[in-house]
Amino acid sequence: MPPSRRFAVLLALTAGLLLPASAAFAHEEREVTLPDGTGSVPAYRTAEPDLLVCKSDLADFRRRIAGFPEDLKTRNIRLFEKCQQDGFRHLQEAVDKVDRPGMTIGILPGLYREEPSQAAPSGACAALPARWSVWGYQILSYEQQQQCPHNQNLVAVLGKKDLQIEGTGADPLDVVIDAEYRKLNAIRADRADGIYFRNFTAQRTTFNAVYILETDGFVIDRVLGRWTDEYGFLTFASDHGLYTDCEAYGNGDGGLYPGSASNINEGRGHDVTRYAIEIRRCKSHHNALGYSGTAGDSMYVHDNEFYANMVGATMDSLWPGHPGLPQNHARFENNKIYDNNADYYRYLRDGTCRKPPAERGYERGVVCPQVGVPSGTGILVAGGNYNVFANNEVTGHRRAAFQLFGVPAVIRGEDDLAKQADTSNHNRYEGNRFAGNGLDVWWDGQGTGNCFQGDTGRSTPAVLPVCGDRAPALSGGSSRLLAEPVKLAKLYLCADFSAAEARLPAGCDWFGASGLGKLEAQLALGGSIVLGLLAILFAARARHGTLLNMRARSNARTKSEVRSRSNVLGRPDVRNATLGVSGTLPDAPGVSGAESDVRDPTPGLHDQAPARRHSIILLAATAAGLLGLALDVVAAVADAPVLAGLAVLGLGAWMLALGLLLRRARPVFGWFTAVIGLLGLADAADRLVHLIPAIPLSPGWIRGLLTGIWVLWAVVVLAPRPSRTRGEERHAPKVLA
């Protein structure tokens, strides 16, 4: 590894270590293996069901189907009669009767509470030798799931191949499988290659409505998943999947969560041969997240609607233990993503989410968010690569249409230095339609090869890399290993969210901080006060000529007799022995300090004109700096990236001018100040004009770090101390004596 790369990686690792280590998993599960990919997406079979499930109350059944179209009603009546003869009263009973691949189970309209599966574990099932997760459930092996299928699942489909389970009603609400918060999952399909779910509702669980695990080939078709602690649909470590025409709402994490889909495009750049899972025509709304994608690899997500969530869709590399990290290759196309501005954190604040799930009121619209996210965002990428967002309609988000930031690998439990900057890179945003968003793009500035469409509106940073016609072409790109410093500080603060402790970090605007209450504003205000005071002090010292001139001091030692004579003449020589705006300012050769005294004992005839010029320059620069500092606060309060750029410009101009004016009086400090000023100007250009390519850190990082040192140094420079002038003045009478 080249030294520069090693240094950069160390920086990334340092930043990663500064982030709080998050909980071990987004969800906890047994060790899983991704399918070998030899399966296929199952096709819907229209033949009559092999097995039927129904209830026995004919009057209730007739009421349920009363509004059906005539042919559907006739079919259901026929199926009901057959079911009364040889059908089952509970879905699990029918599943247990499946004895060959390719069978179909028809569920007739009704409420399925699965009473035989409801009981708490007893006997050997209550004492399984398995680890308990920190979330209060056991991590069971597949064999233990087989042994005790209802410890965690209302309905368990274990190892069945090519099974189709469908409701025979007119829509998903006609068949309801209700776990009543007694189980983690309403339906679990585990190693069930070829499973096809269609036309029913699964609801009220403490984990997932429908859970598909280690399965090659599945379809979720016209299924509604609602009111869970976590996910409407969780499909994990699976391949050849299809979500179609589904709906999810009232879930505390993602309505749809295609986690750890087969990682089949790793290392292929933008050259994708096939996607592992397709999601189309689904509606996901009123969840914490419409779509959640930790390790959501090789996803094709199109023609869906994600709305009224806190965030429309996320994909991330935040959680250890998920196969396929870092997340890569999700393609979002032609989706409508709008009005994801819900604030469900109020239910954490008011204690609603501390109640047992059955008492929280999910059915009345309560959502208990399990994740800390920037509500008011369309699509959030928190560590992902080679994702493409094309031709989506992303509208009405009070915060941002798109957010993109990187996540060091150490967060997901990988401490290999070479991996620390492996997200977020090569993500493309093309042809999307924006309207009514606070920002169109919020990007932390980290990563390589990311690009955005040319017609992006308001964004931070204000200038962005622009995508070329074909991937991976882009212009104005950058390659930064770390996020912008203030954004990184904000992410660090916001990551301290805890649903378990209802901890909503104060200062993070994701959770309601606003105005000067925001971390960014507080940092800007604190920095501005310190720098503003220093700016005023420098200006005042310079104006009053009390800033020590090293050259004058040196001259004073050799010309002390002349000085003494001047004092004898009764002229106060403070100005001549000091630097400020008079005497020894740069660009006033031959007019500096004691030398001028030697040539002209009458003060000010030579040095007053340039001194006045320098005074004006410094005052103007100080005014620009103070304006910049004020703008910085306003920009932070108002989330105005252009103002922030102008603020840095003003600040840079002040420091550059101050440094140049000080460079003869205090060469090292002066040049140091000027360099920071130049970095400020570079930072401003980076923010407002063009991202500076080929630098591993934004100018803001270097500027910020050096400014910290500068502040300490400036305090030392400005600290009151006995001056030589006073010493000389004190001793002058002695000479006379």
Binding site: L18, R63, L111, Y137, V176, Y181, Q370, R503, P722
Partner: protein, 152 residues
């Protein structure tokens, strides 16, 4: 005099060095404190603790006797809160209040209760849950499911 000046300069330098050293110490302490906070601070946990979620049994969601009530708003074709689930004990009184931004007709299936929904005016239907089962409450014109009444 030269000697006096030299001493003064030394004194000056000493004061400044001490001040700089103190500032440096303060800065180091701040950095160390930040690092310590980062390393030793509370770890982020995003999910509920045992006993409030993922518990195997948290208690049945059985309906309590007494009046059941739902308040529903329809705005631009969207139902708020999203289509719900109203658990009702058999024989209990039920009231459902609906406000729609467009004129429509409310229908409680099974009980066959219908009510007009004038735009912008809340309408309340009341009935006693005499039939068991799950009954959809819908609007006829917009064909929206507002809630399901589960009577047990």
């Amino acid at each position: 005099m030269r000697r006096t000046l030299t001493l003064g300069a030394r004194l000056c330098l000493a004061v400044r060095l001490r001040l700089a050293a103190r500032l440096s110490q303060v800065a180091c302490l701040c950095v160390a404190a930040c690092l310590c906070l980062a390393a030793c601070g509370p770890q982020s946990t995003t999910h509920h603790r045992p006993g409030t979620a993922h518990d195997v049994v948290t208690g049945p969601a059985t309906p309590a006797p007494g009046q059941a009530h739902a308040e529903i708003t329809i705005t631009r074709g969207r139902v708020s809160p999203p289509p719900g689930w109203l658990e009702v004990a058999e024989g209990s009184p039920v009231t459902i209040t609906v406000t729609s931004d467009t004129p429509d007709e409310l229908h409680v299936h099974g009980y066959d209760i219908k009510a007009g929904l004038p735009a912008g005016k809340p309408v309340t239907v009341r009935f006693t849950a005499g039939l068991t089962g799950v009954f959809a409450v819908e609007t006829h014109r917009a064909k929206l499911v507002l809630t399901q009444v589960a009577v047990r």
